[in-house]
Symmetry: C2
DNA sequence: ACTTTACCTCAAGTTAGGTTGAGGTATTAG
DNA sequence: CTAATACCTCAACCTAACTTGAGGTAAAGT
């Protein structure tokens, strides 16, 4: 099984995605391929990792466009090293930490507020715009500050 | 300011959403109104809490359809009590806990895997379908089990 | 050789969650 | 009383992330 022997169908089966998804990702600039003599796509083995990373990032709530930008920082000329991937994942880890923290805050508010009856009152942190999570900024914003994109 | 004096514009300003959003939510069965003599919408004050709850639930990653189903369990005949809302939020709290746990797992995998170089190998928990997070089920599934919907 | 399976492109369709705009009526402020 | 807002309906549009289908070519199995 040579490095260059990955057809679109094989990649799709291996990664659990549809062929159309791979076409789509390619059109969006998330993965790359070259063509064989008969105009069919062929992939390097590292496409598998790219796809795993795309999928993992999506589960974190990161958009394809952001993923594309992140993947674009990987080196063009050589196969990415462990260090390259580590740099990528470090960024996302911060993002994920923030997202988790946000959901935890929301969980505490949910426990404390929605059930307690304060939600319709001026001083409720979920309901009201002037709470500590949304101190600055104008207009009625509910829990916006620090929210995942 | 009577209980019945909430126009669509007032509700929109108060909740920080657009009038069109309120129309949309109504069409989707998330909120209700009645009409005055001139066919304009009028709301009971508890619509404010419903909208806050909708917004909070959305931040948790719950779809409008799920939110609709949850809100449908509230009593029809009377204004929901604190207890009614508490029951609702208890369900979502579990959901949120699961979601947070999932993201934490993902974070740990991210730290341990994407950067380490194992992602393309058979025994990597993110990459491979046979890991402890996806033990049962068929086909190549990456981190699906316990994933947020 | 021939038949099945895999691939190709490109356009159009899908779902969620809204937003925008046109054309017309109601309410409110001065 | 009149002008400025606010509201109404309905259809069309929007983004993200894909999927489906039509019409045609390539590669692989027997």
């Amino acid at each position: 099984m040579e490095d260059s022997n990955w057809t679109v169908g094989r990649v799709a089966r291996r990664c659990g995605v549809k062929v159309s998804t791979l076409h789509f990702y390619e059109k969006k600039g998330l993965i790359r391929s070259w063509r064989n003599a008969g105009n069919q796509r062929r992939y390097k083995a590292d496409v598998l990792r790219r796809i795993s990373v795309i999928k993992a990032a999506q589960k974190m709530g990161i958009s394809l466009e952001e993923i594309r930008r992140a993947l674009a920082t990987l080196p063009d000329n050589r196969t990415p090293t462990a260090g390259d991937w580590a740099a990528l994942s470090a960024n996302w880890r911060d993002d994920l930490d923030a997202r988790i923290a946000y959901l935890e805050r929301l969980r505490d508010l949910l426990t404390g507020c929605i059930g307690c009856g304060c939600l319709s009152m001026k001083n409720c942190p979920i309901y009201n715009e002037n709470d500590k999570l949304a101190r600055e900024g104008d207009g009625p914003v509910i829990l916006e500050r620090g929210a995942p994109r």
